[in-house]
Structure formats: structure tokens, C-alpha cells
């Protein structure tokens, strides 16, 4: 492995005290226990990967280390000294730096101003000009070219991540944690980032690499710790175990299950239901995230969209749901009454045509955690009229709760006391009910246990089969796409790069996804 070149002696590391040591860490949020008794040691000069699927507690762990969250129980030791980290400032003072997937920069400030916030060597009264000058020098040294006088909102995503890396380098951190920071980067940029990570390790720093991609972890790290459901299930040196073993650890029983149920390939003909022509949509950063996508989904057909997160699938689904502006192209829904062009008509018109939508951030846009289960159902215009018949809503809620096996004290419990999985079930139950014609879903089964996930996928397929519902299901989980989709489209950098029929070889899809 390449790491051997830069770090000759692994054995001596084992002897020294860890840079950061986590002992018996617990952290729970209302309704969820995110970390259970986590132990972790990170040594200097080591790239330590933390693997785990979504929701395994990776981010919570690193945010707890960084002082964003306060742990319920457990100790954090830094260089042998017990540390109470209550704020990111504490963490930074102790030499911990976090680079996250979402750039933690302030858009309206310039690069220099953002970095000035971190650089302790400048006093409060020192001028931004001096910081700019300092940055120019350092950028020269590290080979990063970003004008320190640019406002951050003008930067590309990669540039922002580079600014974050630059920050870590400038701070002379003892430990840098990359929280899925490489996930969204194109592979060439990713290599560049790896170079910086190696450079950092060479300087004696420790790196914590949080990822859910096994190959990525294997490629660069020296050591891997696997988390599942908030617990450490294994920690080992790279090369000690096989990729399949790691998969088993990450996914537990699930991986041993057959990758899809109801394998029968359906040949859906029927009429067209969703027609998308040359769709162009901008992302949050102003650039085109969806670049000329054309698609047709027939009645009763499920289109699975696979792709690495951040390749435009989110923007695609949002624009279909009417929540994001379409710059060019159009979307036509064919419903029982006729053809309706819904491009930029807004969510009200689209939802009125019998469209269900499972959004990407359920807590933000799919469900209101301060309201009760009943209220979260009744809020949908299709499920209640002007005068709300609460008795009917209660009956509906009860039937859904038993149908989906939701764990809740009552139908009038506030959603915030539910666990993430149960919360998702409420959302899915509501949206499947209103999806008379079309279902749009983004990662529909995240936070669900494997049994529930299968159940939900089967419900989607059944509804498509029996009621003629069409669906666009986007998932970052390739298995899910393969299990649920009649057709599979692969999206990469905003373009559709491959179409597959159900039952296609997984490797073929993966190849298209990453190239």
C-alpha cells in the first residue's frame, strides 16, 4: 500500500499514546441513540477511516469530537490528557479540525475573512489585509490557487473544499477529520485531496476519514474502524481483512439477504406517465446540476435512478416535485384526465395531480417534528378538507400505524419523540397514500431497518403493479435501486449516462456511476 512509503514504521506508532482517544462514548438525541459505548484510538501519522452506512453514527461521533455535540457519557482524551470539548473552539485549540461534506464557510465573507476566523496567530485587531498576504504566501507553498479576496459564494464546490483543507494545513492540526468530504468530489479532484491528506500525514498529523465507501477507505487509509447503529463492530489495519468481511460488518445481516425480491421482470408497456424533455436545473451553487435529462416513465412503471450523491439526482427530483425552478426543458405528467404540462407550475399543481413525494431531508421538508402524527397526516390537502374530521384522521393514523408497524405511544404523539425509522414510516405512509398517479422518492428507505425497508419497497412495487402508479425512485443505495426499479437510469454529473433493465449486473451499473 502506498501508505508504507510515507510512514515506514507502523509498530512504533502503536507504542506511543494516541493523539485522540475516545472511551465509552454515548450520545443520544430525542428518540434515537446515535452512539453506544464507542471506543476509538487515533495515532499520529495515521490515516484512520471510519466506515459505516448512513446513520451509523459516524457524523455524530466526529461532531462530538469537534465539540458540536456534547456527549451524554464517556471521555475524550487528547494526547493523554482528558479533555472536555464544549465547542469547536475548544476542539481547534486542542488541534482538532473538521472538514465536512457541506463546506463550513460563510458565503458572504471572502476566503481570507473565513480563514481569519480560524487563524489564532492573528489578533482580533489585526487587519484582513495581513491575513490575505499570509494566505497568498501559504497558497504558494501548498500549491493551492484561490484568490483570498474572493467571496466564498463565488467559489465552486471543489474550491470550497480546498479552502477547508488549506485551513486544516494552516492550523497545524494534530488531527483532521474529513466527514464525507470526498464523497461529492469528482475523482480527479479527489486525488488532489488525497495528496493533501498524505502531505498532512507526512507532517506527522493524524487523519480521521469518515466515509461509507469501502474502496475509498481501503485506498488511502492505514486503519479502518467500522460503525454500525452507533456501535463499533470492528477495528483493524488495512489489509488484515477482506472487503467482503468489511461489508458484512457494515451492513450486518442485510448483506446476506438476497439483493432483490420479486425478481420477476415486468414488461411495462401502457401509456406514458411522466415525460421529461431536455431538463436543465440549477443546483444550490448556481451551476447546472441537471444537464439536459430526458426520461419517460410509463404508467405502472418504476424508474430507479442510481448515482453517486451530488450528481444532480436531488435537483432532478426536486424539480419534478415543483420545488426547484426548471431553467430549460419541460415535464409533462399524463394523468387519467389528460396531459398536463407541469414545468414550473409549483408544487400545488403537481401534488394536486396525485403525486406523492418523499423528500431528501425528511425532517426539513417532509414532516413537522413539532406536530403530532395526526397533524402530519391531516396537513396534506388530499387527506383532510377545510373542516377537519379528527376522528377520521385518527382512524387513518391508527390503521397506518398498524400497517407499517410504527412504534409510538399514540396517534397524538409529537413526531419528535419518534425514532428516525418510525418518523420515516409516517412520511412514507402518507406519501404512498396520496401517490395516486406518481411517486417521487429520494432515498425512501433510509433509517429503516432492513425488514421495513423491504416492506416499503414491496408496497411501492405493489402499488405500481396494481394501481398503475408510476414512480421515480432515487437512491444512493444501489441495492435499493436494483430492487425496486423496473428500469434503472444512472446519473453522473447531471447527465443520464446509462439505462438498464431490471436484473442487470450490479458491476455494470457501478462502472457507469463512477466513470
Amino acid at each position: 500500500m502506498t501508505s508504507e512509503v510515507f510512514f515506514p514504521s507502523n509498530k512504533s506508532t502503536q507504542a506511543q499514546t494516541p493523539v485522540v482517544s475516545v472511551c465509552g462514548l454515548w450520545k443520544s438525541f430525542p428518540g434515537v441513540t446515535a452512539l453506544r459505548d464507542v471506543n476509538l484510538d487515533v495515532y499520529a501519522g495515521e490515516i484512520h477511516a471510519i466506515l459505516g452506512e448512513n446513520g451509523a453514527g459516524k457524523s455524530t461521533l466526529v461532531k462530538t469530537l469537534y465539540g458540536v455535540y456534547v456527549p451524554d457519557k464517556g471521555d475524550i482524551t487528547i494526547n493523554g490528557v482528558k479533555a472536555v470539548i464544549t465547542s469547536p473552539l475548544d476542539a481547534m485549540r486542542r488541534g482538532l479540525v473538521l472538514v465536512s461534506q457541506v463546506p463550513q464557510l460563510i458565503d458572504t465573507l471572502t476566503v481570507a475573512e473565513n480563514l481569519a476566523l480560524s487563524l489564532r496567530q492573528f489578533s482580533l485587531m489585526s487587519s484582513v489585509k495581513s491575513v490575505e498576504k499570509f494566505l497568498l504566501d501559504k497558497e504558494e507553498e501548498y500549491g493551492i490557487r484561490i484568490n483570498p479576496n474572493t467571496e466564498v459564494w463565488k467559489l465552486s464546490y471543489t474550491q470550497k473544499q480546498l479552502v477547508e483543507v488549506l485551513r486544516a494545513l494552516l492550523l497545524n492540526a494534530t488531527l483532521v477529520a474529513f466527514d464525507e468530504a470526498t464523497t461529492l468530489l469528482p475523482s480527479s479532484e479527489k486525488r488532489k485531496l488525497y495528496d493533501f491528506i498524505r502531505l498532512f500525514r507526512l507532517k506527522g498529523g493524524a487523519v480521521l476519514l469518515i466515509t461509507h465507501k469501502i474502496p475509498e477507505a481501503m485506498e488511502i487509509s492505514d486503519r479502518v474502524t467500522v460503525l454500525r447503529k452507533g456501535e463499533v463492530v470492528g477495528s483493524f489495519k488495512v489489509g488484515e481483512v477482506s472487503i467482503d468481511q468489511i461489508r458484512l460488518m457494515m451492513f450486518g445481516e442485510r448483506f446476506t439477504q438476497p439483493s432483490s425480491t420479486g425478481n420477476s421482470e415486468r414488461c411495462v408497456e401502457g401509456r406514458e406517465a411522466i415525460v421529461i424533455k431536455d431538463l436543465w436545473v440549477r443546483g444550490d451553487y448556481g451551476t447546472y446540476a441537471v444537464k439536459g435529462v430526458s426520461l419517460t416513465v410509463h404508467r405502472g412503471e418504476i424508474l430507479g435512478i442510481a448515482g453517486v450523491a451530488g450528481n444532480g439526482q436531488l435537483e432532478l427530483v426536486q424539480s419534478l416535485a415543483g420545488l426547484r425552478r426548471v431553467e430549460k426543458g419541460n415535464v409533462i405528467l399524463h394523468v387519467k384526465d389528460g396531459n398536463v404540462e407541469v414545468t414550473n407550475k409549483g408544487p400545488a399543481v403537481i401534488r394536486d395531480l396525485g403525486v406523492g413525494y418523499i423528500p431528501d431531508e425528511p425532517i426539513k421538508t417532509g414532516i413537522s417534528i413539532d406536530n403530532t402524527i395526526e397533524e402530519n397526516l391531516a396537513i396534506h390537502p388530499k387527506l383532510s378538507s377545510f373542516l377537519i374530521n379528527w376522528r377520521a384522521v385518527k382512524d387513518l393514523a391508527s390503521s397506518l400505524i398498524s400497517k407499517y408497524n410504527v412504534t409510538t405511544p399514540s396517534t397524538t404523539a409529537r413526531v419528535k419523540i419518534l425514532s428516525g425509522g418510525n418518523l420515516m414510516k409516517i412520511l412514507i405512509a402518507r406519501e404512498l397514500m396520496v401517490a395516486k398517479n406518481v411517486l417521487l422518492a429520494y432515498n425512501p428507505t433510509r433509517s429503516l431497518d432492513e425488514v421495513s425497508a423491504h416492506y416499503v419497497r414491496r408496497l411501492i412495487r405493489d402499488k405500481a403493479l396494481n394501481e398503475g402508479m408510476s414512480a421515480v425512485v432515487v437512491s444512493e443505495d444501489l441495492d435499493e435501486v436494483m430492487e425496486v426499479g423496473d428500469k434503472i437510469a444512472v446519473i453522473n454529473s447531471g447527465r443520464l449516462v446509462g439505462f438498464f433493465r431490471r436484473g442487470v449486473d450490479r458491476g455494470e451499473i457501478e462502472r457507469v456511476m463512477v466513470t
Binding site: 464544549t86 413537522s368 406536530n371 373542516l387 409529537r414 425514532s419
Partner: protein, 420 residues
């Protein structure tokens, strides 16, 4: 079933510890309706009063006098008038606060209610006209005609032009419409431009005061000599004035209106989709948008409702037999709304944005105000040497109750947990 774990350590001491050091953590609690819901407001009233009592004690107001007079406020039937008005206002404010629309512009909306109600009352439901001095006596016995100015040169009479009940109804509706429309300005700014409504509603109050002054002095200025000279409108025809309940200054109409609003808002809130959507707009507006409801319309709706109710409160003040006219505001510190628009915010907060508790706290706050007033006259009579102003006697208790409440409120939404 999920067992709801409750974190038990919340006391005042914990709060103090929380304020003093970093060793406590605050996090979302799952408490919804528990002791704190009722206990915190009562506790804050208690502590706030204690603080004020101590402040006043330092200059020589005996504690027992303070307690007696504040207590007397609770028994005084005068309290009723302000509780009724506060109920009307606060019910509307709670509706908008529930939607996270922080309408602090009830003052301005009341002013518009007064203006619109006054306009209808003075120029549509009745009108003031000059008559010749010789004819004056012949009008006196005509029903619906009232002499406004019996001057021998240019007498003025007010003539009722419609059924007084219809007139009152029109006044109320016009006031509600005007209050609602004025409230829609900041609502539009918030929903479609993104201007923070707390600042804009507050600023618009001052604009409303000046508009009021302008309209009263130029447009609605009355005909009678006194009205022309003293920058005020004519008096409303007494048939259009609301009816006082015997022995008090509360009017029957405002009692009925406020009960009506209370019940209708409660129904609206609980049993209709508007209420539900307002609630959700307050907790998660993005959800509304995602299910195809324009959440911006519910910002408008929230402001409209509270503005309408504030407008009705405005006209109730105007049509009180003790007032019955609009007069120029000489000092913005003492507007004709008696600052009730701000006091209603206090009521809404104390009632934890729960409509059912609004009448209770409307009464409590009105009693405190009344108690402050009684305290003033009693202190003035008994301790001539003390120089205590009315502002000190009312603002200090109210401010301290509110401040204590704001801090203690944390304990309701969050539980405080001791760490290490």
C-alpha cells in the same frame, strides 16, 4: 410503545448554573403539557412581582401596600375592560405567533381599526351637519339627532343615517378590514420580500400613529367649534356608541365580540385546516410547501387574522361611551390604544401560545395593570414625599415579569441537564 424518558433536573438553581458556566447542556426536551406549562408563567409573575416589590421597597413603598394594591387589582371590576380588550387582541396574536409570525404591530392595527370604525361611524352611519341657529330647537326632539355644538352662530348636529345596530356592525367590520389590511403590509414584506416582520411591524406602528394624526387633523376633523379647534373629530352619535354594562366601563359589545373571537379562533385553530396549516407553518413551513400549500399565504393569513382582531379591539376602544371620538396623539408614549397592543404580546407569551389559557392571562395582566394604577393613587395619597411615576409603577413590574418569564421559558422547551 416508546417509554418517554424524562430528564428530571430542572430547577431555578440549574438555570442559574446553566447561566453561570459551561458545564450544563441544554437540549430539546419532549415536554409538551406538564407542570411547567402552567407553573412557569405563575412563577415568573411571582418572581417579577417580588423583584418590583423590592425595587419599590427601597424607596419606601411598604411591601404590604404593594401586595394589597396589586391584590386589589385582581378584585376590581375595572379590570374587566382591559381583560376583555386584551383577550380580543391576544387571541389574534396567538394565532399569528403560532405560525411563527411575530406580529408586534397590534398597536398600529388597532389605530387603523379606530380610524376605519370612526370613519364609518362619523361619515356613513351618521353625519354631522351645520344647521341654522333658529332651526336648532326643532331638531332636539327628533330621534337619532344629537346636538354636537349648540353655539348660537353655527350649531352642529349629528344625524343618524341608519339603524344604529347596523351602523355599529359596519363600524366593526370596517375596523376589522382596516386592521387586517394594515397587517398585510408587513405580511407581504415578510412572505414575498423577506423583510423581518418584528422590525417592520414595530416601525409601522409609528407610521400608523402619524397617519392617524394626519387623518384626524385634516381629513376627519369635526365640524363643531371644539372639534375644529382641538384637532379632533366630532363625537360619535351616541346611538352608535357601545353600551356600558351597568357599573363598569366595559361595553356589552366588546364582551360579546371578544367571546365570539375567542370561540371562533379556538374552532378555527382546532377543527379547520387553516388552524392546522398555521400551526405547521409555524413549526415547519417547508413541509407546507412540499405538500403543495403555499406557506407564504399562511403568513398573510396569520397577520390578517391578528390584524382583524386588533382592528376590532381598536373600534371597541373608540366606541366606548367614555371616549367616542378621535383626538390627535400629542405624545406617542400615550397613544389612544393605551399601549394595549404591546401588553397583548405579554399576555400571549404568558399563555404559552395556548388559546385556552389566553383568557386567564388576559385577566391576570389586566389586574396587574389595574393594581399598578391603584398603587399609584394610594402611594400619592399616603406618601406625598415619594416621587414615583406612573411609568415606573407599571413598566417595572411588567418588564421584570416578562424578562423572568423569557428566561424561565427555556425550561419548558428544553430540559437542563447537569454534565459532570
Amino acid at each position: 410503545m416508546v417509554v418517554v424518558k424524562r430528564v428530571s433536573a430542572y430547577t431555578i438553581c440549574d438555570l442559574l448554573r446553566l447561566l453561570s458556566g459551561g458545564k450544563l447542556a441544554v437540549r430539546s426536551s419532549r415536554a409538551c403539557f406538564d407542570l411547567y406549562y402552567v407553573g412557569i408563567p405563575i412563577l415568573s409573575i411571582g418572581i417579577g412581582l417580588l423583584i418590583s416589590a423590592i425595587i419599590f421597597y427601597t424607596v419606601g413603598v411598604p411591601l404590604d401596600l404593594f401586595i394589597n394594591e396589586i391584590g386589589a387589582g385582581f378584585q376590581s371590576y375595572q379590570t374587566l375592560r382591559y381583560s376583555v380588550l386584551l383577550l380580543m387582541l391576544s387571541v389574534g396574536l396567538v394565532m399569528s405567533f403560532k405560525a411563527s409570525v411575530w406580529n408586534v404591530g397590534a398597536e398600529g392595527q388597532m389605530i387603523w381599526g379606530m380610524l376605519a370604525g370612526g370613519f364609518v361611524g362619523l361619515f356613513i352611519a351618521s353625519c354631522a351637519i351645520y344647521v341654522s341657529p333658529s332651526e336648532l330647537s326643532s331638531y332636539i326632539s327628533v330621534p337619532g339627532v344629537e346636538v354636537l355644538d349648540a353655539s348660537p352662530v353655527k350649531p352642529v348636529i349629528s344625524v343618524l343615517r341608519m339603524n344604529p345596530l347596523l351602523g355599529q356592525l359596519l363600524m366593526i367590520l370596517a375596523a376589522m378590514l382596516a386592521g387586517g389590511l394594515w397587517a398585510l403590509i408587513p405580511a407581504f414584506l415578510k412572505a414575498y420580500v423577506g423583510i423581518d416582520e418584528v422590525a417592520s411591524t414595530l416601525i409601522l406602528n409609528y407610521v400608523a400613529y402619524q397617519v392617524y394624526n394626519h387623518l384626524v387633523a385634516y381629513v376627519m376633523r369635526g365640524l363643531s367649534v371644539q372639534a375644529r379647534q382641538f384637532l379632533r373629530t366630532d363625537r360619535l352619535n351616541s346611538a352608535l356608541l357601545f353600551e356600558s354594562l351597568p357599573g363598569t366601563t366595559v361595553t356589552l359589545q366588546e364582551v360579546i365580540l371578544s367571546l365570539l373571537f375567542f370561540v371562533s379562533m379556538l374552532t378555527l385553530y382546532k377543527y379547520t385546516s387553516i388552524g392546522l396549516r398555521l400551526r405547521v407553518a409555524g413549526s415547519n413551513p417547508q413541509l407546507l410547501r412540499s405538500v403543495g400549500i403555499d406557506e407564504r399565504k399562511y403568513v398573510l393569513m396569520a397577520m390578517l387574522l391578528s390584524g382583524m382582531l386588533a382592528g376590532a379591539a381598536g373600534v371597541s376602544i373608540l366606541a366606548n361611551p367614555g371616549i367616542g371620538k378621535l383626538e390627535k396623539i400629542a405624545n406617542v408614549v400615550t397613544p389612544p390604544t393605551f399601549n394595549l397592543g404591546y401588553t397583548a404580546i405579554l399576555v400571549s407569551w404568558l399563555s404559552m401560545l395556548d388559546l385556552r389559557l389566553v383568557p386567564v392571562y388576559a385577566y391576570v395582566v389586566a389586574s396587574l395593570f389595574q393594581g399598578g394604577g391603584l398603587l399609584q393613587s394610594e402611594v400619592n395619597a399616603r406618601f406625598p414625599g415619594l416621587s414615583l411615576t406612573g411609568a415606573a409603577l407599571t413598566y417595572i413590574p411588567i418588564g421584570s415579569i416578562l424578562l423572568v418569564y423569557v428566561v424561565l421559558r427555556v425550561l419548558v422547551d428544553y430540559s437542563v441537564r447537569f454534565r459532570r
